[in-house]
């Protein structure tokens, strides 16, 4: 296998690892905190909010936004690490 293919493979593997972690969080805040464990979390209060209710109608949405921006950051770093951040056009005109 060529060096190029190995690099693509390693890049993909790291990407999948990030996806697994981020999607686990995605699942836990929405389906976990907002739905399955809602009644349990509702015992805890955050000001006027019951925590389960807050996750279902507010918290999970905030976490979703943060997750995407974390992913953007992680991937920009990963692209750089593997040299995929350079524009194709720039390279071909070299």
């Amino acid at each position: 296998m060529s060096e190029k293919q190995n690099r693509a493979k390693a890049y993909w593997k790291e990407n999948l690892k990030y996806l697994l972690v981020l999607l686990t969080i995605w699942f836990l805040v929405s389906y976990g905190a907002g739905i399955l464990f809602k009644d349990f979390l509702n015992e805890i209060r955050l000001g006027g909010f019951r925590l389960g209710f807050w996750f279902a109608q507010q918290g999970s949405i905030y976490v979703f936004v943060v997750l995407i921006f974390v992913y953007v950051r992680l991937m920009n770093k990963l692209d750089k690490k593997y040299g995929y951040d350079v524009d194709q056009e720039n390279v071909t005109t070299k």
Binding site: E3, K4, L22, S30, R50, W54, M75, Y84, Q88
Partner: protein, 597 residues
């Protein structure tokens, strides 16, 4: 100035703006028409996606739905935002790298088959048409309520405006008008919300306000107060909800996956320059959507509390003016069941038949001056009918806000409905001109010819959508919410497997898409439309207690299983296709490998 004058001014100004943008951004190539030339900045694309996404339903109805559903409203809040995480992480960057014009383009190339492409075109048209008819109706309703024109005239005006910028500008025109529409709609949604939050809790941020204490100095939290009021009137506590956990789970999943599978959302990510921009613009889109989606549940709580407090156990003649104004538009109704002259609000439907909406007896007035309703439901003690849309539409009046704020809500509602309709119409026209004509019927067509075909199909699509807006078939309203189930059951598995599973072949994908969408359609026809039986089967016959809205999640799982099983019984895809998959997984083909230096 009166509300009417303000409305004409604001709606007129925003429409002039949209048309101006359309003229400025005229499309001159098919690339312009389908994907806005592929050079939209991530922020602009995020704004356009947000406006495209937030329809008349998000703007006008969602807060009201939540106000009456309490906790259960979370299925929409999480469902319609969480899908963007899936989009950003699993779909958008790879589809951008693939770099074609439409979703059927991807399905057709990845699964090297015309059958796969045709199935995808069929699914895209089915999903988009069910969705767009509701939008055109929404345009008509907003016009009729605020400008006092007939609903059908409203639909016609909406058609002409959309026609103008969708046909002229294609995706390019739509994108830049959507940027303007986002600004209009978010401003229109936030201004009343902030005013009301200050009035009720003293907190200017609605997201925090509804978890704050009420301003009467008692130190009671607003949510506790609403929970108390709700149980007092015989409802479930507001923060508890009444749907089963499994159904809430299924509906949320179906909406999330459906969001990620909707063609008019996916196609937006073809318009940015680079893979990196696709990820970033998904982030901006969700951030901008989240502003409205985190405010809506706050508006729901404010409006519900306000409504109960200002109406329940009050004498009809002492009710505030807005009550009578909206009674005139038939969105509120009152029947004095116990003849005490006071409004009693309780659990259960106040009226029966006619989809639980009141039938007014012309202009006839009762003893207290209320409008007479003929379909009284005597089985409940509830005397009040409230249309859920009122929670947003009447909010500025309930809170005594200035006239220009009321007019702003009208402009915002129109922006939301028009932007979504335009996005959907573009998907429909490109499915016809690009996927059907260029790729299947007449591949020899010239670029110029294809552009003409795209414009003609856009005109045709607007006319069909307008027709359904004026003559809504009974099932449209019932089916709009299910467009998500259809998208979840068809596209999502095929696209995700196409990217993440190299071994996935055409037999598996086609079988999965067909069986997925057919099972969703059958469940929908049986349990939502009731066409298989004489009467609609009751909810206790639902499989595992899952509602038709949530069945998209089950159909999606069926699709995944069928795809994988069939795929392993048939031969792997050819080498070129596996190369495509490897290629879309990396953001570009360059790199600082040894050979490049």
């Amino acid at each position: 100035m009166s509300v009417q004058v303000w409305t004409y001014i604001l709606v007129g100004l925003t429409f002039a703006l949209y048309i101006g943008i359309a003229i400025w951004s005229k499309a001159s190539s098919t690339k312009d028409f389908y994907v806005a030339g592929g050079g939209v900045s991530p922020l602009a694309n995020g704004m356009a996606t947000a406006a495209d996404w937030m329809s008349a339903a998000s703007f006008i109805s969602m807060a009201g739905i939540i106000a009456f559903a309490g906790y259960d409203g979370a299925v929409y809040l999480m469902g319609w935002t969480g899908g963007y995480v899936l989009l950003a992480l699993l779909l958008a960057p790879y589809l951008r790298k693939f770099g074609k014009f439409t979703v059927p383009d991807f399905i057709g190339d990845r699964y090297y088959s015309k059958t796969a492409r045709s199935v995808a075109v069929f699914c895209a048209l089915l999903v988009s048409f069910t969705y767009v008819a509701g939008q055109m109706r929404g345009v008509g309703i907003v016009f009729s309520r605020f400008l006092e024109v007939d609903i059908n005239t409203g639909v016609m005006i909406g058609m002409i405006i959309v026609l103008f910028y969708a046909v002229l500008g294609g995706m390019k025109g739509i994108t830049y008008t959507q940027v303007a529409q986002y600004c209009v709609l978010i401003f229109a949604f936030m201004v009343p919300a902030i005013f009301i939050s200050i009035q009720m809790t003293g907190n200017p941020i609605p997201q925090l306000g509804f978890g704050d204490t009420v301003v009467d100095g008692s130190g009671t939290y607003l949510l506790d107060k609403l929970d108390g009021l709700s149980t007092e009137l015989g409802f479930a506590a507001y923060t508890d909800g009444s749907k089963s956990i499994l159904d809430v789970f299924a509906i949320t999943l179906a909406l999330m996956v459906g969001t990620a599978g909707l063609p008019h959302v996916i196609v937006r990510f073809f318009t940015v320059k680079k893979v990196k921009d696709a990820r970033k613009s998904a982030g901006y889109a969700l951030l901008l959507i989240a502003i409205l989606y985190t405010t809506a549940p706050a508006v729901a709580v404010f409006a519900k509390t306000n409504l109960i407090e200002s109406v329940h156990n009050k004498n009809y003649e002492e009710l505030p003016a807005w009550f009578k104004n909206w009674e005139d538009t038939e969105l509120i109704g009152w029947i004095d069941k116990n003849k005490d002259g006071k409004v009693q609000y309780a659990n259960g439907h106040a009226v029966e038949g006619n989809k639980n909406k009141p039938v007014f007896d012309g202009e006839n007035r009762g003893e207290q001056g209320e409008r007479v309703i003929t379909n009284i439901n005597n089985a409940t003690t509830n005397e009040l009918f409230v249309d859920r849309d009122i929670m947003v539409l009447a909010n500025p009046e309930i809170a005594n806000l200035p006239n220009w704020v009321i007019a702003l809500v009208a402009a915002g509602g129109l922006a939301a409905a028009l932007s979504t309709a335009a996005g959907l119409l573009l998907v429909i026209s490109s499915s016809v001109s690009h996927d059907l004509i260029k790729k299947m019927i007449k591949p020899s067509i010239s670029e110029k010819g294809e552009l003409v075909a795209a414009r003609i199909s856009a005109v045709a699509a607007v006319c069909v959508a307008g027709y359904f807006g004026i003559n809504p078939p009974g099932f449209v309203a019932a089916v709009v919410a299910l467009a998500f189930g259809l998208a979840a059951a068809s596209f999502f598995p095929a696209i995700v497997l196409g990217i993440f599973y190299k071994r996935m072949n055409k037999e598996g994908a086609v079988a999965g898409m067909i069986i997925g969408i057919v099972s969703m359609l059958l469940y929908m026809i049986k349990y939502k439309l009731g066409w298989f039986d004489d009467t609609l089967p009751p909810s206790d016959e639902w499989w595992f207690g899952i509602s038709p809205e949530g069945f998209g999640a089950v159909a999606m799982i069926i699709n995944f299983i069928v795809s994988l099983v069939v795929c392993h019984l048939t031969s792997p895809p050819p080498k070129e296709v596996q190369d495509i998959v490897e290629d879309i997984r990396i953001p570009n083909n360059a790199g600082k490998g040894v050979e490049d230096h």
